[in-house]
Amino acid sequence: METGFAVMAALFLASAVRISVPLLVGTLGETVTERAGHLNLGVEGMMMLGASAGFLVAVRTDSVLLALLAAILGSGAGALLYAVLTVTFRANQVVTGLALTIFGTGVANTLGKTVVGENPPPAVQAFFALKPLHADLSGIRDVPVLGPVAGFVDAAFLQHNVYVYGAVALALLLAWFLRRTRAGLHLRAIGENPAAADASGIRVIAGKYAAILAGGMMCGLAGLYMPLVHIQTWTDNITGGRGWIVVALVIFVRWDPLKATLGALLFGALAIVGFLLQAYPQLSGSILFSQYVIDMYPYLMTLLALVLANAGRKKGWQGPGALSVPYFREER
């Protein structure tokens, strides 16, 4: 088998794409939530809820659609709890989010016990084995330049399952929604300055509920990817802290769904680059390329992004203006 540099690079990128899916989808969800001014630290819990509910239903029904629906409902329930507590009951967002993570993880691990050791059922497996964009390159393989380039692109980006492209489509859709639609504009207004939004006739409370629920449901879909597609079985804590990486990633990509696709790919690549580097001991022997140090990079980069946003003379935008600031109409 050919293992030239280009082939290795393409296969590495393909791995990074696959591992970035839960990061991307989770980031999209948390972006929606934070755009409405709510910092929901319950991402991990909602991912777990979605993962367990979705995988449970997948195993019992062998239906992709029902699994997705169950994931959405499971994580949506968690998000609803968070919304009631923080929007209506005015509880502290940080504390509520932490509580949701504990609760969601506990419920999910309890539910998951009933499907331990199960593989995804046949129809689900077959569905995610499809590679809808995989190109037949036999005709142009030997064409100079075009052949190798097409081969590279195909190997890196076009041999993935529906979940991957669904995630990218969701990112595009969300970018369009936030920038080009009236509802998106309203959502951003609520997150920037709820009092002003309220005064201009936007239904702030309804908007917040909608954003938190939609965001939570996306987190559930992010979680479902782990047992259904990636690991293909259930284990305790299957999302493995990805919810927290998502919280960092949202900041790193500056609440932007389009940048989130690249940011997720970068964080995904960092998570696995160590395995590639092990083939080059002269590199991985150096402390800078040690996996232990590489593991710090996502968080260091996020801090850098956070700091750079308001360094310099002209302060840049540092995220939704009213992020994690509660809004009570009566106490305006």
């Binding site: 502290n92 940080v94 504990i102 300055n193 968080y299 700091v307």
Partner: protein, 381 residues
């Protein structure tokens, strides 16, 4: 139309009774849940109580866990009192434990235990304070959101300790296993009445924090800054100095907790020395309304839950059940805070309730992590 109306805060004993009631209601819900899952609730919860308080070693372990939780919750309560949302206690604990380990490794063999213990505790203070200072300075000088900053610092600290354990400080005598060598026995905290001496520090810290926030000038300033930075400036306070000092105190207390956990129990540095206490402490501090006595009580409750879980597991209930119970308690308690301050009124559409201006207090749901006085709603508007 249903409206949410601000009412006179329920305070004092009555408020604490309501909070306790909410927790017991959550426990009652848990009993139902256990029944639904097909377990015997009497056996399960009986085992939990028995495990947490019923035996000598159960009690000792409950206290050991409560000491760490209480110290950390006290640490974050100082920062929370000035609305500096330090959710970086997890990292500060680890860096405290790291600094204490470093001190123990640097000091020559044969250092008298008293000196060694003191040096390690001081190093822990410094380690935690330094780790908290970074987000503090960025907040003051650049206005960086400290919630997000301190959260990220946790993961950097965790990865840093993993790096030490697996690479830099890996114990050559451990047969290749990625562990750091134990600190010298002279640096262990000696047991007093069956529990390592850290509990004395915890009690002292609880009393000190109580008086610090209530009766000292700096404590007063911290509370004023917490109510409103604008007011603090108007009153002529140097807000930057107050925030830096408060952050240093908060971080130092968390760092001390790390040193105590290392010297009292773990004896070897690893990322599990913090073990999630930094996050649990946030919840505890909040549930206790940032009051030191409340923190002590809530810490014992959470520690008992953690210790009791082991006993529950022994009689066959799933380990994840305790997370569910914990979650239920938290949700119940969080909604209680609402009902202590508001009531739901059904009124005619045109009848406007007069908004009562909320009295300031840390437990009140006003102001968020990035709330710089007066600024949040204006930015980007």
């Amino acid at each position: 139309m249903i409206r949410i109306v601000r009412k006179e805060d329920t305070v004092g004993l009555r408020a604490w009774a309501v909070r306790a009631g909410a927790i017991l209601a959550a426990l009652a819900a848990s009993v139902l849940l256990v029944l639904l899952m097909g377990y015997d609730p009497i056996r399960t919860f009986g085992a939990m109580l028995q495990g947490a308080f019923g035996t000598e070693y159960g009690r000792i372990n409950t206290i050991i866990m409560a000491v760490a939780l209480a110290m950390t919750a006290l640490a974050v309560s100082v920062a929370f009192s000035m609305k500096f949302w330090n959710i970086g206690a997890e990292g500060q604990i680890l860096m405290g434990a790291f600094a204490a380990t470093a001190a123990a490794r640097v000091l020559p063999e044969g250092t008298p235990p008293v000196l060694l213990v003191l040096a390690c505790l001081l190093a822990g203070l410094a380690g935690g304070a330094a780790w908290a200072l970074v987000p503090g300075l960025f907040r003051i000088y650049l206005g960086t959101n400290e919630t997000l900053f301190t959260l990220m610092m946790n993961y950097i600290a965790i990865k840093f300790v993993v790096l030490l354990r697996c690479l830099a400080w890996k114990d050559p005598a451990a047969n290749g296993f990625p562990v750091i060598a134990e600190i010298p026995a002279g640096a262990f905290l000696p047991p007093v009445l069956g529990v390592h001496a850290g509990w004395i520090l915890a009690v002292l810290l609880a009393v000190a924090t109580y008086y610090f926030l209530r009766s000292t000038k700096l404590g007063y300033e911290i509370r004023v800054v917490g109510e409103s930075e604008r007011t603090a400036r108007y009153a002529g306070m140097d807000v930057r100095r107050v925030v830096v000092t408060g952050v240093l105190v908060s971080g130092a207390m968390a760092g001390l907790t790390g040193a105590v956990k290392l010297m009292g129990v773990a004896h070897t540095l690893s990322e599990t020395v913090a073990g999630g206490d930094g996050f649990t402490a946030i919840i505890i501090a909040w549930l206790a309304n940032l009051s030191a006595p409340g923190i002590v009580v809530a810490s014992v409750l959470f520690a008992a839950l953690k210790q009791g879980t082991l006993a529950m597991e022994i009689v066959g209930s799933p380990p994840s059940l305790s997370d569910v119970i914990k979650g239920l308690i938290l949700m119940a308690a969080l909604s209680t805070e609402f009902f202590l301050r508001y009531r739901i009124a059904v009124e005619r559409r045109d009848a406007h309730a007069t908004a009562v201006h909320p009295p300031a207090g840390p437990g009140q749901a006003e102001g968020g992590p990035s709330a710089e006085a007066g600024a949040p709603a204006e930015e980007g508007g």
